[in-house]
């Protein structure tokens, strides 16, 4: 093993990826609410460019890009590291951020004759903070740094829930915060134990030293369960439906598409990078079983919701479940077993396609609610004729969730299915199939209403901006296009391992 870690040629991009949104935050504080919107028009595209540049650097180099902060190599200093999954995650984040930014332009602004309100500045600052937190999370390679990134993410996400300041959203936000804090405490406790046992928190060094003694196992399960609470994996999902359904549409999009994925990313880091080979068969089955329960319960409950945003929130609970199949199915990745690579690609594709389609879906739901003044599913009749672009966005993203070809969701689910067959764990295949049927049920339940006859006179609908409809549609189209990626990209996701 090489012990000296040095900064690679494009390493500075990694610092930029984290600091650029922070610069956006700093500048937001010195401008007005309207100024922040204009500021976002610069921060978002440049941030997107940085993500693309990192992706290209990783792809061309064929190896991780590294930046050693202050030239102090770990364990003394800390390093930032972009491997294949970080780069792909960064790009997904950037795409969702840009579309959300486009969607949110004007959402929080006020007529010029009124005094400035808090919410516009707050929203954009939170958006930048989430972005910076997520980039730090996917690039960090030190368990304590990752904790800091995780907290930044959580504390930026919580206020997003109660941006409107109504009583029930504040309640939902508090619920979210308290539960996320339990998660943080568990994670920190685990990290402290690891430090006590090994004297380092650097992931690379840990992977060489780690051994399956009781302290390590307890520490690992504390960290994992803490992160599960933040990911809202069943049965730790109590905070998710009110929080994701209560936030304003662009907020819901960020929360459902990205924030819950951050803590999942960290769980994968722990088990595949920091402690490779330590996850026992039984533990992997346990994680997947929780995922399976999430798929079934989340899907069944989504079918029973009366409000569109709650339906989508429960669908998120179900879709998160699929991610956890990566643990039993890709377990052989470090041993170089071929079909583990299939599961690995499938799991990540599920994450990316869910991020894109769920953000699109929350935006579409937001537009529908804006036009109608409510989001009661039973009274959505005919809105599809008035908002065809929104309906198309909802439909395309829904089909990706169900796993209908051609879409990212289809490729993800077929790869996971393939892995279950190869691995001989057919029981997960049944769950994937049933989950797809449940998703088909709730998506078509809504689509049927949208296409049906109108209950309310269409003339009474509030106008909806075309730009915002197109923002939702472009994300949905991205989710579909993910299904056309050449299978070569699966090698990309394994860069750096």
């Amino acid at each position: 093993m090489s012990t000296t870690i040095t900064t690679t040629a494009s390493g500075y991009l990694l610092v930029l990826a984290i600091m650029w949104p922070v610069a956006g935050i700093m500048l937001s504080f010195v401008t007005s609410g309207r100024g922040v919107e204009r500021l976002a028009c610069v921060v978002l595209p440049v941030g997107f460019g940085i993500a693309v540049a990192v992706l290209i650097a990783v792809a061309q180099g064929g190896q991780s890009q590294i930046y050693v902060v202050g030239d102090w190599a770990p364990p003394l200093g800390i390093a930032l590291r972009a491997d294949g999954i970080s780069a792909a995650m960064m790009l997904t984040t950037a795409i969702v951020m840009c579309a959300t930014g486009l969607f949110a332009q004007g959402e929080f602004s006020q007529p010029s004759d009124l005094p400035e309100a808090r919410s516009p500045v707050v929203f954009w600052v939170l958006l930048f903070a989430i972005w910076s937190g997520l980039n730090a999370l996917v690039l960090g390679s030190d368990l304590f740094n990752l904790y800091v990134a995780l907290e930044l993410l959580t504390f930026a996400a919580v206020p997003l829930v109660c941006l409107k300041g109504q009583k029930e959203t504040i309640e939902a936000a508090l619920r979210y915060m308290l539960f996320a804090l339990i998660g943080s405490v568990l994670y920190l406790l685990g990290a402290a134990m690891i430090y006590g046992a090994y004297g380092t928190l650097d992931i690379g060094l840990l992977s060489e030293r780690v051994r399956p003694d009781p302290a390590t196992l307890i520490a690992a399960s504390l960290m994992t369960v803490g992160l599960l609470a933040k990911t809202a994996l069943f049965p730790l999902h109590l905070w998710l439906p009110p929080a994701h359904a209560g936030a304003p549409a662009p907020g819901s999009a960020l929360l459902s598409a990205l924030v819950v994925k951050g803590s999942f990313f960290l769980i994968v880091r722990i088990w595949f990078d920091a402690m490779p080979g330590l996850l026992s068969f039984a533990a992997a089955q346990l994680l997947a079983a929780l995922g399976a329960a999430a798929i079934l319960v989340g899907g069944a409950l989504a079918l029973r919701q009366k409000r569109l945003k709650l339906l989508i929130a429960y669908s998120t609970i179900a879709q998160i479940g699929y991610l956890f199949f990566i643990f039993p199915l890709a377990a052989g990745l470090t041993a170089g077993i071929a079909w583990s690579g299939i599961a690995w690609t499938g799991g990540w594709l599920q994450l990316f396609s869910h991020a894109l389609s769920k953000a699109a879906m929350f935006m579409a739901a937001g537009l529908i609610a804006e036009a109608l003044g409510h989001d009661r599913i039973a009274e959505l009749g005919g809105i599809g004729r008035r908002l065809p672009i929104t309906m198309l966005a909802f439909g395309l993203s829904g089909l990706s969730l169900v796993g209908v070809p051609p879409s990212g969701g289809f490729v993800a689910k077929s790869l996971l299915l393939m892995a279950t067959v190869m691995e001989g764990q057919w029981w997960w295949a049944t769950v994937i199939i049933v989950g797809g049927l449940l998703a088909g049920g709730y998506i078509f339940m809504v689509l049927g209403r949208l296409l049906g006859s109108s209950a309310t006179p269409l003339a009474s609908l509030a106008p909806v901006s075309m730009r915002r409809e197109l923002a939702a549609l472009s994300l949905a189209i991205c989710a579909v296009l993910l299904g056309f990626l050449p299978l070569r990209s699966s090698d990309f996701l394994q860069i750096g391992r």
Partner: protein, 546 residues
Amino acid sequence: MMTPMIASTLLASALAVPLAMMALALSRRGTGHTANLLPLAPLPALLAAMMVPEDTSVVLPQALLGLRITIDKPGAMLLGAASLLWSAGGIWARAQVRSQSQERPFTVWWLTTLAGSLGVFLAADMIGFYLFFTLVSLAAYGLIVHDDTPAAHRAAGLYVALALLGEAFLLMGFVLLAAGAPGSSLLISDAVAALPTSSWRDTTLLLIVLGFGLKMGLVPFHVWMPLTYSAAPIPAAAVLSGAAVKAGVIGLIRFLPFEAALPGWGEVLASVGFFSAFYGVGIGITQANPAAVLAYSSVSQMGFLAAVIGMGLAAGNRAAPLAAAFYAVHHVLVKGGLFLALGAASARLPRNAWLVMVPAAVLALGLAGLPLTGGQIAKLVAKGPLGDGLAGTLAQLSAVGTTLLVLHFLRRLSASAAQDSTEPPSSLLVGAWLTVAVASLVLPWMFLSTIGAASWNTVLSSEELWSASWPMLAGGLLAAVLWPWHTRLPRIPEGDVLAIGQRCLPSVFSLGATFERVDSYLRQWPIASMCVVLLVLLLTLTLAVP
């Protein structure tokens, strides 16, 4: 002769043109007459079916998943018949939606279904096949709900639920096929060749038969057919019952390993098929709505086809796929033509009823194998895989049943013609309908030499003529005997066993309520906190298990 370049371009355009038109209709603003595209969209496919030489292949660029489309004999026959019906149906659809505000969505749904329906005949790899199969299955939803009545929504909901179930079966089946195939080839032929020796052979076959059987409406998966065809607008019912259903037939033809004799699986499929064939007749004669009668006739006919395919599989008969495709071609045109006849009848003045009734009678009796029609040839060709044993006898008995059922249909048709007296259909519509009808009579004669199953002389021999005639006479006799009893037949609701399913629904909903209770229990603070502690313990324990 065509150069390979032109041939492959024409082949690709068969699918590219409908999809491009769909995109055009989707993007076009306002209410331009997008429906004018409907009759034109299938024409490249029709040309391709007639002119492109057999076994021409096109491999699409990698950006389009590297899909491969190939035209072979069964595919070309079905493609030709289906595109002819889609074009005629398009003429009817154009007339029907023209004045409505729903024109654009209807056009988009129609073209998407069309692209899927034609695509399944050409797709040579599993991804492409699954893609087109999904298009034809799910996009039909939009055609069924078009009338926006409660019945239409109910039918479409049931349809889409079953279609998704079928998709799920097939997805798992295809994954198993791909897993059993050597190397990373996704070509259907490679995967099917490896199927008989695959370690997941039986599960794969079960999933494939379930998935395609659902699409074909084999009992007990037939419940969607009567509801759907009654609720959909007539042009949509014509193309769905004629062309779209054949996605299931081509699926069985492509995905079952006829090279290897699989008696067990073949006989199971044949039994289910024959059961459906008689079941469809039995329920069909109790139906009053002519569209529902036609739907049950489809259940019966698709059952018969499944029996042909099953017996072919049982014997390892390599000619069976072609025979099944030939029979299916006849059904495409006849069933489509009969639905259009229904449209013509509901608009004809009563005194001109014979103008509709005579062609309709020829078409309908063709299903039972009326001598000298395409139906007689179709039955004759089907005899090959069926053989002379029990299956052969059952096939002849099913022709008796079919005669009974189509006579019932003709009576319901004339009754419905007498009731309505709306504006008569334009000559263009009548022309489109009669083209399909004539094609159903003529095309089988033309294809006969192509498939080389029998010669014209065999068809016209007195022995064959008698073998085709006696079931009709028996059926006619039976109909005459049953006639006075007709009013005493039970009135079975459309979708028959669906009523039982609906009785089970409350228990399914109560399952959902249970889940809801579990969810609200788990989402209490004390319980959730307990869960955290428990999970830490459980995870540590499972980690300690080696």
